[in-house]
Amino acid sequence: MSVIKNLKFKLDSFELSIPEWEIPDKGLSILTGESGSGKSTLLDILVGFRKCKGMSWNFLGIDYSNIKIEDKKIGLVLQKGELFPHLNVRQCIKFAALARDNKNYLTESESFLKELKLDKEILLQKTPTLSGGEKQRVALLCALIGRPKILLLDEAFSALDIENKESALGLVNRFCLTNNIPALLVTHDVSLISRFNSHFKLQDGSIV
């Protein structure tokens, strides 16, 4: 288990208060909550975009709240499938591989492309020309190419149709099992709960 302690964050009238939260350090977990409940803020804190004084996050024996963002080895996929607007898909994948020194990225990306039902032609497409669903799948591919120690997914399947959602979820599941890492999906889509090993709910700034 990875344990988060003393997470207190206040922004204007909104307040997040999580005295202790245990997240499995293997398998798939899901965090649900209504819009505006603070799910994305919580994810920002976990990634390190927002600072939270006094918080600790014990993951794999290290306090993850105290290390640099670039050293956390997080695989992050955001709702809009954020990618680099000046690069094509191939360059984005290359960047993800170079950033984490993955020399085997060509073979891996080929297999991920197949699993995500993406054509090879997409590699030469500039990212702003991709559809919402394609962006989310490419962002997931880039996150996996970085060989993360944890996957954080913020509404990462929201733009996918049922078939593509299934294949993306399947890939995430297999990747986590093979590499023995956890994934946390943050979403308001409660229909996905049954597909995950653990379920948490964020309500009024606290984990239920």
């Binding site: 963002i69 080895k73 992050l76 954020e82 607007p85 000046h86 950033a99 984490r100």
Partner: protein
């Protein structure tokens, strides 16, 4: 590195405070009289610029077509972005043709107003467009007169923004140096000119430091009171500002730009072009291009250090000291070494230009850039990879544009360079000397050479832009 940048930008203040001599060095009567004139000209300039600029802003906000809006915006910006020397020269030419004097208080206030009206117009139009609640407020007064709309909705809603614009223009005019240097006569000395005179003519650095510091404390008081405008939600919408549709005030920036262009070429005599000094031209071009290059490098350095909330906040709230104050601090620091003194001019330009350039161009671009830089950080990229693949290619065009503006301004600069260089070592300094002695034919000669140099600068940057875009 961030700390070094902060220290560098604050260095003029630090140097002056470290050198602060005794207050009784200055002539209080002279200081008070100059202070009164400076305040008077700045107030008048700010009132006229803001008053007319607000009208222009109202009309500009009524333009709903995006392309037309951009065109009018460009016309409004022309007097603000063109080097001051061209504006002064143009209006001196026109005043000679129409046989009226443009010196002293009238001249200074006119020049300041000409430069700022368009800028105020654009800023105010963006304020109107960014107030998302405006359309809701508007619905409350549907059926009322235009006067009611302006008096009961628009002015109360934008009062703080108007105050900010007014204060900013006041500060700009209070610390304006290049205009009073040519237009101001013996009785029209501003504080900036007084510091310059003490430094260059009387060679009294101590007196200059005291005056500069008193001026700085006065300005700091104003800066701390002034609120900032938040223009994040600026967008053109057919619903917004539908109550005010009169576009007639746009005639003001159009006339200003037209008169400016006419004034430049009114005394054109191409035969005079045969008399020119190639060395001065090359030297001026060299200075302008190196200044642009250093600005490009500085901007790249800033982008490579982002995202950093501290740096972003610092640059947003940082106001550069006045031209003479920065010049003075570097002259104090490097007075004994002419080589370093020469190099210091490029640092002076960065300190002077970066606050304006940051607020005008860089800040609005960060909204797009920061999420991308954050993503690259999460992906684990080191500084070199982030710079090479993300921040450099993404910011190349913007940095090049900023470098281009810097080169254009430096080519026309006679204010900073008069503190560091000999009296006629650059084209702008020569033009200033001719204009101060009303030798307009000779000044025309130099101004045309400067325009040709500006064209060369444009072509060089266009080439660099094409090369960069092809490579990417």
């Amino acid at each position: 590195m961030i700390l070094l940048i902060v220290l560098f930008l604050l260095s003029p203040y630090i140097i002056l405070v470290a050198k602060f001599p005794s207050l009784n060095l200055i002539n209080i009567t002279e200081f008070i009289s100059v202070f009164q004139f400076t305040t008077k000209q700045a107030l008048l300039s700010a009132v006229i610029s803001t008053g007319l600029g607000l009208l222009v802003g109202l009309s500009l906000a009524a333009v709903k077509n995006k392309k037309k809006y951009r065109l009018y915006e460009l016309i409004c910006y022309i007097p603000c972005f063109v080097p001051v020397i061209f504006i002064v020269f143009s209006f001196l030419n026109i005043s000679q043709l129409l046989k009226f004097s443009i010196s002293g208080l009238f001249g200074i206030v006119t020049m300041h107003s000409i430069i700022n009206i368009g800028l105020v117009g654009v800023l105010y139009s963006k304020v109107i467009l960014s107030k998302s609640s405006l359309s809701n407020q508007l619905s409350l007064v549907q059926g009322g007169s235009t006067f009611n709309y302006i008096a009961k909705v628009l002015i109360p809603l934008t009062a703080k923004d108007i105050m900010f614009i007014f204060s900013s223009i006041f500060l700009f005019c209070f610390t304006s140096f290049s205009i009073p240097l040519i237009i101001g006569g013996v009785r029209s000395t501003t504080l900036e000119l007084l510091i310059y005179e003490k430094l260059i003519i009387s060679n009294s650095v101590e007196q200059a430091v005291v005056i500069a510091l008193i001026q700085f404390i006065f300005l700091l008081g104003i800066m701390l009171v002034v609120n900032r405008i938040d223009l994040k939600n600026t967008k053109l919408s057919s619903q917004q500002n539908s109550y005010f549709s009169f576009k007639g005030f746009l005639i003001i920036p159009m006339v200003i730009s037209l008169v400016l262009a006419l004034g430049l070429f009114i005394n054109l005599n191409l035969s005079l072009l045969s008399v020119f000094n190639a060395e001065i031209i090359l030297y001026s071009l060299f200075i302008a291009l190196i200044a642009g290059y250093t600005m490009f490098m500085f901007c790249q350095l800033l982008f490579s250090l982002l995202p950093s909330r501290f740096l972003e906040k610092f640059l947003l709230s940082y106001s550069s000291p006045s031209t003479v104050l920065v010049g003075l601090s570097f002259v104090i620091l490097f007075n004994h070494n002419s080589d370093i003194k020469f190099l210091s001019i490029f640092l002076i330009y960065i300190i002077l230009f970066i606050p304006f350039l940051y607020k005008m161009f860089i800040q609005s671009y960060l909204g797009e850039l920061i999420p991308v830089l954050k993503l690259s950080k999460v992906m684990g990229a080191n500084a070199l990879l982030k710079f090479k693949m993300i921040s450099f290619p993404l910011s190349y065009n913007l940095c090049l544009f900023i470098a281009f503006l810097t080169s254009v301004w430096v080519m026309g600069d006679y204010a900073v360079s008069s503190l560091v260089f000999d009296s006629s070592s650059t084209l702008a300094l020569s033009a200033k000397n001719y204009m101060r002695s009303y030798k307009m034919n000779e000044a025309t000669n130099v101004i045309i050479l400067m325009l040709i140099c500006e064209l060369i600068i444009f072509l060089i940057y266009k080439g660099l832009l094409n090369v960069g875009n092809k490579k990417s």
